[in-house]
């Protein structure tokens, strides 16, 4: 099932620079994600990993370079248009809609796919009911996928931390993206939950055929699920390749472990 490695990239960042005032958070970064793959972005703290995700999803402006998703240049699009173009993310610090129920959170994920006009919403026409029923069913599928169907009517804010992470995942999947970006999804999870997350990420790639971009500190998870790994250091891309190749790269070893070895 794995496509040949020379397939056109799904996401292509070329020479992307992000500045905050005078600080270069990201300098001419190149980063690609291939279709049907899990690509991890790793690096020491402050290397600019989250900045890459923010640049891709439009939460920070890009000073130079281009971001192309599936052949479409999304560099200058506002965040909500990028979601429509097919890239959706989760957040390092959870951004669950706490006042909505678990199911409503996931239904909100289908906002752009649930199409009916203002008049239909005001009158609750049969077309509206059909669309809402469909939205509910698809949202439930995603909740079952991550194993949260049993708490669908619970207020999302009442879920324990680990399950809120899964909820964000389900909500993002509900948008049926081409590319899913996960910002430190294992942060705060125990070993058992992390293992389940790894299964989930593999299933997203293999069963849902959604490409995954993964920013993560847990190296066991990264090396276990990734097809490709890119290493970032102080805003510069350092190395890129398969997990084995990257682990053997002397530059990477130096960045992570210091100069002595």
């Amino acid at each position: 099932m794995r496509p040949p490695t020379d397939a056109a990239p799904l996401l292509d960042l070329a020479g992307v620079t992000v500045r905050f005032g005078g600080v270069h958070a990201l300098t001419e970064a190149d980063f690609t994600i291939r279709p049907d793959s899990v690509t991890a972005l790793i690096g020491p703290n402050g290397a600019g990993k989250t900045t890459v995700l923010n640049a891709i999803t439009g939460l920070v402006p890009v000073a130079a370079g281009s971001i192309v998703l599936d052949g479409h240049d999304i560099t200058r699009l506002p965040p909500h248009r990028r979601a429509a173009a097919g890239v959706v993310r989760t957040f390092q610090n959870l951004e669950v809609f706490t006042s909505l129920s678990v199911l409503e959170n996931v239904m909100t994920g289908r906002h752009i796919l649930t199409r009916y006009g203002a008049l239909a919403s005001l009158l609750h026409t049969p077309a509206f009911r059909r669309a809402e029923r469909d939205c509910r069913e698809r949202a439930l599928e995603k909740l079952e996928f991550v194993g949260l169907a049993d708490v669908r009517d619970t207020p999302a804010g009442d879920l324990p931390y680990g399950r809120q992470r899964l909820l964000e995942l389900a909500r993002a999947l509900a948008a049926e993206p081409k590319l899913l970006l996960l910002d430190e999804p294992a942060a705060g999870l125990n070993t058992r939950e992390t293992a389940a997350l790894g299964q989930c990420i593999r299933a997203i790639r293999d069963r849902l055929h959604v490409a995954v971009g993964l920013v993560e500190h847990d190296m066991d998870l990264v090396m276990g699920v990734s097809d490709y790994v890119t290493v970032l250091n102080f805003g510069h891309p350092l190395a890129s390749g398969t997990p084995e190749a990257v682990q053997a790269d002397p530059e990477v070893v130096r960045a992570y472990l210091g100069e002595e070895n």
């Binding site: 999803t57 506002p78 005001l122």
Partner: protein, 325 residues
Amino acid sequence: MRRSFFGRNAVQSTLFLAVLLAVPFVVPNDYYLSICILACLNAVMVVGLNLLMGYAGQISLGHAAFYGIGAYATAICTTSLSLPVPAGMAIGIGLAAAVAWLVAIPTLKLKGHYLAMATLGFGIIVSIVFNEAVELTGGPSGYVGIPRLACGGYAVETDRGFYNLMAVVLALVVLAARNLMTSRTGRALRALQVSEKAAASLGIDIAAHKRFVFVLSAALAGLAGVLYAHYLCFIAPASFGFSASVQLVVMVVLGGMASVWGSVVGAFFLTVLPEALRNFEDIDILVYGCILVATILFLPDGLAGGLHRLLAKCRRTKVPHAPAD
């Protein structure tokens, strides 16, 4: 179980309308009926303001300005310009919505206290215009000679007739608001209140949704304004000032944030309460204040939340041996 063709919201609104229409048979005279009319007018506005405040989380401290814009626009159109009443009303609602659209562009970029101050400033500016543009608005002494509500050959002459109309309008507004809030738009508004970042990254156009709900709530205030003008046939700037705006906000909070029924309860409660306190004569304001403080202290989620919990408690005590699941 078969789902009825009409949704739950439609059934509840119909029941609500039936209750409203029964009120004239209970109240002793036209004075009390006029209080009920004012309560309905307030409820229309408070429901609109709650869509903005309770659901989308954006505060407006100048909402009475839109009420005034609607009232003055139809007053001027139907007297000086001698347009028919329905045309004046349409212009009044349209103007309130158009002004809101313009105001929304700069102000909805603001958040929290800054948005409160911007809308407060807007309300004060409009209030000054009502007072100072004497040739247009009649100034502080008010605008007289506004025609009664009429459409074609049919005129609403009695308070009873006007009240029935208000009951229908309010029931429809409640239905529309509840329908809208149980749609993707409602979910998007509640979502962006919690996290704009997450909502935007799921494809929700934050600016467009905020602007839409602001314009909608202003249009509802405009609707209340035009009806008010043609009911009293006299309007004065005092009804549309800062204290009126604050009162609307209090009704929203007291009734219950993000609850359409709460807004209705809040509007009726705070419109009727001062009348009920007339017996206290000199200390009525004091009692009014104490009741407000006590309600907020003991019912932090508003009258609607309090009633909801009371009902839930009754249901639990009625069924002491609920099967465990």
